[in-house]
């Protein structure tokens, strides 16, 4: 345990590096999955090929992908960019289907009524469809987030630093504290990020029945506004 106390700085630093590798991948996977999902829903013949195709990306073994990417993208072997790209691909594999299903589940009734009151196509997509798909999209993002945070560790094998380095080093040098710290911090990080996503969901989607309603303080302010 003394190893952990002596190396708190390193652990903290690696945690941040770990985050810096996984979060961009989550964001990229999310942003790319939306247009792909939109196309899958819009052009029905493309739906299954697209969804199954992207889904299969997840079956690509991660280690070879990490190794192949530099050759494909032209980065150096230890470039963290390889990790971000690989994780984005895995995230996309998880996210596209859930995004397509989330967007598809928005009822025709609401869409018809949004059209009837004068939303343009694009306006309706952003103001209505995307918002209403929010809770289901969030569920998808949570899976991608946790999966990315745990997958980053593999990069340590390639010599790209992350919390994974704590267990590669720990095994190599036989330091139990280091191995433990690596595992625990990865899990804690995943849990914290997941929790933050849930909280963000409640804040951004207070209308969602499965989320808590508006906090009392907010409610009071809004009631005053109504009375005015």
């Amino acid at each position: 345990m003394s190893w952990i106390l002596e190396n708190l700085d390193t652990i903290g630093e690696l945690t941040l590096v770990h985050l810096a590798l996984s979060l961009p991948a989550v964001v990229i996977a999310f942003l790319v999955s939306i247009p792909l999902a939109w196309i899958a829903n819009r052009i029905r013949v493309l739906r299954e090929p697209l969804l199954t195709g992207t889904g299969l990306l997840y079956a690509v073994p991660s280690l070879p992908l990490f190794i192949l990417l530099p050759a494909l993208v032209g980065t150096s072997v230890r470039d963290p960019l390889n990790v971000v790209i690989a994780l984005s691909i895995f995230g996309l594999a998880l996210m596209v289907r859930s995004a397509a299903e989330a967007l598809d589940a928005v009822t025709d009734d609401v869409q018809t009524s949004a059209t009837a009151i004068g939303f343009s196509r694009v306006g309706r997509f952003f103001a209505v469809e995307l918002s209403l798909a929010g809770p289901a999209l969030l569920a998808g993002v949570r899976v991608v987030c946790v999966s990315s945070i745990s997958l980053v560790s593999v990069s340590a094998v390639l010599g790209v630093n992350s919390l994974g380095s704590l267990f590669t080093d720990g095994f190599a040098r036989d330091i139990i504290g280091s191995i433990l710290a690596g595992i625990v911090m990865t899990v804690v990080l995943a849990l914290i990020c997941d929790l933050l996503l849930v909280l963000a969901g409640r804040l951004l989607m207070p209308w969602n029945k499965n989320a808590a309603t508006v906090r009392p303080r907010l409610r009071k302010r809004r009631t005053q506004e109504a009375a005015a």
Binding site: D109, V110, T112, S113, A114, T115, A116, I117, G118, F119, S120, G123, V128, S131, L132, G134, M205, P206, W207, N208, K209, R219, R222, T223, E225, A226, A227
Partner: protein, 279 residues
């Protein structure tokens, strides 16, 4: 004024929903499209805001053929209320009502102010404004739907079975409320229903439709009630079976005597006044 000129609609799958339908709805009057399920009421209604393009014929608003009007702009100046309120579940009641003024470019504050005015007009407590639609009763949601339909102060209001999903008592209350609002605001309304009492209560003009958008009968409520010639209409209105609680008979002065099922006189309608031309 809304004019359907021999419109027809055949959907891509080959279903002919409407054929050769013509109707003129004078400004500031209510026309009710009455008919059983699948006879083309919604299809006709949606031709007015270009959600359905007629396959033949044309629709005119104030003499202008709307096929030349940009659909989104057109919809923003026509109110639309539908059966399951069609409210946006992720927006507060007040913002649902304010949506249309916002789309038309009003500031958020102005749009909300307008929203609260409308809530008052349709008889909704202002404190419901901050709820989400899911937190309202069906009847309240329909009121919000009506308020939203009126929010852009449109001349035209299209209503597709707006009270179809609420219980009979609330329904009657909503009808009364709408009649009151109409008395005040004088919109040109096309109202779709398959409830005969609703049609008689709200319509200045009622069009009874058969399958394929064929007009079985049309006229003022009084004219329809006294019309026993057309078998389909009589049967539809229940005039033959006694199921209809009201019936009408022309008196010597040309007035209509309305009686209930037991033949007890209820009141008199001066048949000559066209309700559409009320000042």
């Amino acid at each position: 004024m809304i004019e359907f000129r021999q419109v027809g609609k055949t959907y891509p799958d080959g279903t002919t929903a409407v054929e050769e339908f013509s109707l003129t709805v004078p400004s500031r009057s209510t026309a009710v499209l009455l008919g059983s399920s699948g006879c083309g009421k919604t299809t006709l209604l949606r031709m007015v805001n270009r959600m359905v393009e007629p396959s033949t014929g044309s629709v005119l608003i104030d003499e202008e053929d709307i096929s030349g009007v940009e659909p989104v702009a057109l919809r923003r100046r026509i109110g639309y209320v539908m059966q399951h309120s069609g409210l946006l579940p992720h927006r507060r009641v007040i913002d649902n009502i304010a949506t249309v003024p916002r789309l038309n470019g009003a500031s958020r504050a102005d749009a909300r102010k307008r929203g609260y005015e409308l809530m008052e007009i349709v008889g909704l407590d202002a404190k419901l404004g901050l709820r989400y639609p899911g937190q309202l009763s069906g009847g309240q949601q329909q009121r919000v739907g009506v308020a939203r339909g009126l929010a852009a102060d449109p001349n035209i209001l299209l209503m597709d079975e707006p009270f179809g999903a609420v219980d009979p008592l609330v329904r009657v209350e909503l009808q009364r409320e709408l009649a009151r609002v109409q008395e005040e605001l004088k919109k040109t309304i096309i109202f779709v229903t398959h409830d005969i009492d609703e049609a008689l209560t709200l319509g200045d003009q009622i069009v009874v439709l058969k399958t394929g958008g064929a007009v079985a009968a049309s006229g003022t409520p009084a004219e329809l009630l006294s019309n026993r010639q057309d078998e389909f209409v009589s049967r539809f209105l229940g005039l033959d079976s006694g199921a209809r609680s009201l019936s009408a008979e022309k008196t010597d002065d040309g007035e209509l005597l309305i009686s209930d099922a037991q033949g007890r006189p209820l009141g008199v309608v001066p048949a000559q006044t066209d309700r559409a031309d009320r000042p």
